[in-house]
């Protein structure tokens, strides 16, 4: 089937719901309206209002209720309309979704997939463009994934629905309708915790994910470089092996993400490479990220997010060092 990321996730949800009647969707405007990005469109008609629930407008209530459903044996898929509003549910995520399995010594796992649109580049109002992956990656207990294409989106969603863990499923708004791919119609899984290595080359490694994957591909293609592009797909727990293997092979590493530079995911990745593969490096690691400041209003966002020029200059630095 031909699918963009919206229809791929919609299809994954439908298959997941057919497979398992414990899968329940809930969130603001997700039922009748089909979600503000139409990701849940048509599912109310197919599964009814007991399984596709328009909730009151309260993010902590949505996530807290979902946690309750999960520890009572359901497999909820809450949607938070934008990642910027998800901070209202941060307490529930870090204090309970991440910890309930541990505090109950696995008597009460939290099987749940929290969907939310992330990142910018689409000229939206304040609080609609955040890249919050590190917040959910730091405390442990949550799985954080972010697909960069329709194939991965469907496979990661189905995998998440087959696991007994809380998964934060970040959907890059900019990529929702950017490309269409031919993807399998049936259920399939993309592994969680495994990076996707796109292209193989000896010149350098570009470690990235989400909205930055198309930018990395474009620059590498235009400059005809032999590069590993490592699409992490899972931010945490991440694929350290794939990162180290590529770093050791090429000796030149650029880490690229839309989240801000300071204490960003690149800091963790660079530290791992420094600890375990520093003597294989031929150049200092370079990080390319958004500025270390609050996400600006849409008029300024093009000066904030990394672009092809910024990546290209970073590549020059690691290639010439």
């Amino acid at each position: 089937m031909q699918a963009n990321m919206v229809t791929a996730i919609n299809n994954a949800l439908e298959l997941g719901m057919r497979e398992n009647e414990d899968v329940i969707l809930l969130g603001e405007d997700i039922a009748k309206d089909g979600g503000v990005f139409r990701v849940t469109e048509g599912l109310l008609d197919k599964f009814g209002e007991e399984r596709v629930i328009d909730t009151p407008l309260a993010e902590s209530g949505i996530i807290g209720t979902s946690i309750g459903m999960a520890i009572a044996g359901l497999h909820p898929v809450p949607e938070i309309q934008f990642a910027g509003f998800m901070f209202l549910s941060f307490s529930q995520l870090v204090n309970h979704a991440a910890r309930y399995r541990s505090r109950s010594r696995s008597n009460y796992p939290v099987p749940m997939v929290v969907r939310t649109p992330v990142s910018g580049g689409v000229k939206t109002l304040e609080h609609h463009s955040e890249s919050p992956e590190v917040y959910y990656s730091h405390m442990g207990g949550l799985i954080v994934v972010e697909p960069s294409n329709p194939y991965d989106a469907k496979g990661l969603m189905l995998k998440a629905l087959h696991m007994q863990d809380p998964v934060i499923f970040l959907e890059p708004t900019k990529l929702y309708r950017l490309t269409k791919l031919d993807i399998p119609e049936d259920s399939y899984e993309v592994p969680i915790g495994k990076a996707n290595i796109i292209g193989t080359g000896d010149d350098l490694s570009v470690i990235t994910y989400g909205t930055m994957v198309p930018i990395a591909k474009s620059v590498i293609e235009k400059r005809k470089l032999n590069a590993d592009i490592i699409d992490l797909r899972t931010i945490n727990p991440f694929d350290e092996e794939a990162i180290l293997e590529s770093a050791r092979k090429t000796g030149r590493v650029v880490i690229l993400h839309e989240a801000s530079l300071t204490f960003g995911p690149g800091a963790e990745i660079a530290a791992r490479i420094a600890e375990k593969a520093v003597f294989d490096l031929k150049a200092p690691i370079v990080r390319v990220a958004s500025n270390s400041l609050p996400y600006p209003f849409p008029g300024y966002e093009k000066y904030h997010i990394p672009n092809e020029l910024k990546l290209s200059q970073a590549i020059d630095r690691v290639l010439t060092a």
């Binding site: 329940i24 007991e50 629930i53 909730t55 009151p56 309260a58 902590s60 209530g61 996530i63 807290g64 209720t65 979902s66 946690i67 309750g68 459903m69 999960a70 520890i71 009572a72 044996g73 359901l74 909820p76 307490s91 529930q92 204090n95 309970h96 309930y100 399995r101 541990s102 505090r103 109950s104 010594r105 696995s106 008597n107 009460y108 796992p109 442990g140 207990g141 799985i143 696991m163 007994q164 863990d165 915790g193 727990p237 991440f238 350290e240 092996e241």
Partner: protein, 361 residues
């Protein structure tokens, strides 16, 4: 104010229930029919055990054999009355002071002692207890209770979910969000507000300008009632009726009780409340009034109380002994985070084991 008085579009009220008064007199017209005198003796014994457990736990903490502890003394009627009203399959969602609920629902005493020694194994509530883990961040358990109740309704289980929260907790956003969701979803939830008058040092009147906490239910479109929380029969009957009605939707029950002791072992209430206030509440002790009634009927006496005390002491001592034999295994910190062991976590576990970090100081 003129235009505010034009036309009334809504009004409601909150009722108060008391069945057993401070003098040990039962209003027989309101008495729950399941609670005959024999059953009332059982209720008293449960409250007595909870109080003795509480004293034991406190003494262990004072001896350095337990971590910070939150005593329940004074709140036995609210906890035991509501727990005894639960049907076998009903489920409960505690905050962090509901030891009396756990005990009544059959939680092994040694598990409680393990929790208060500081190990997650003590929070791993056995499934047959039909309850969930202690929740420390105030009020955050309330949305869980809604979701758990939704699951019962969705699966067509005849199960009500009984949640607990304190007076301070009703100021939190999660409380309002949960009641609002519960009202919209019409879930089988019974929300017990254990109003013990103090949220650490902040008194009830500084927590909310609302005359009752039960009326917070009204804004969510659900039933709210206030009961004498030191009256085990009133709490029992209100909870029983709310459970019976749970298939039609949720109920909030505000239990007016009193925290006779400290908030936790890290607290000193002499800084913020008077002894005379505490003394006045001691006259309304939830055990005392049941004892008065039972003694007047010659169903209880000091000899039976002594006997119960020594039986309880034996149970508690055995449970403490078992709890103190519990051997923590640091590896369980790693194996209970995810459904699988991520490589990055395995590496940290291996490093700890290979290098004997856990033997270090």
């Amino acid at each position: 104010m003129g235009v505010f008085l034009l036309k009334q579009v809504f009004s409601d009220n909150v009722n108060y229930i008391q069945i057993l008064d401070e003098n040990g007199v039962i209003d027989e017209s309101l008495r729950p029919k399941e609670i005959d005198d024999k059953e009332l003796v059982e209720m008293y014994k449960k409250m007595f055990l909870a109080r003795q457990y509480d004293a034991k736990q406190l003494s262990l903490q004072r001896q350095g054999r337990a971590v910070t502890y939150a005593p329940l003394i004074g709140e036995e009627a609210t906890q035991i009355g509501s727990a005894m009203a639960m049907r076998p399959n009903d489920m409960f969602v505690p905050a962090f002071r509901q030891h009396g609920v756990y005990i009544t629902r059959g939680m092994p005493l040694e598990t409680l002692f393990i929790y208060w020694r500081g190990y997650e194994e003590g929070d791993a509530v056995p499934k047959d207890v039909r309850g969930y883990s202690n929740i420390v961040p105030v009020s955050t358990q309330m949305p869980h209770a809604v979701g758990i109740a939704y699951a019962q309704k969705y699966k067509k289980n005849d199960v009500a979910v009984i949640s607990y929260i304190g007076d301070g907790g009703t100021s939190e956003g999660d409380f309002y969000e949960a009641l609002n969701f519960a009202g919209v979803f019409k879930v089988p939830l019974v929300s017990i507000i254990e109003n013990n008058q103090w949220a650490i040092s902040v008194p009830r009147e500084k927590q909310s300008a609302a005359p009752t906490l039960a009326q917070k239910a009204i804004a969510a479109g659900i039933r709210g009632v206030q009961v004498d929380g030191n009256d085990v029969l009133a709490v029992y009957e209100a909870t029983r009726e709310a459970i019976e009605n749970a298939k039609n939707g949720p109920t909030v029950i505000e239990c007016i009780t009193y925290r006779l002791s400290i908030h936790t072992t890290a607290d000193d209430p002499t800084k913020y409340r008077t002894d005379s206030e505490v003394e006045a509440w001691k006259q309304r002790d939830p055990l005392l009034r049941v004892k008065k009634y039972l003694m007047a009927k010659q169903l209880w006496g000091e000899d039976l109380e002594q006997k119960a005390a020594s039986e309880n002491a034996k149970l508690l001592d055995e449970a403490v002994e078992k709890a103190e034999q519990f051997k923590p295994d640091p590896k369980t910190m790693f194996t209970n985070v995810y459904s699988y062991m991520p490589r990055v976590l395995q590496d940290e576990l291996d490093a700890a084991e290979d290098n004997n970090y856990w033997q270090g100081e």
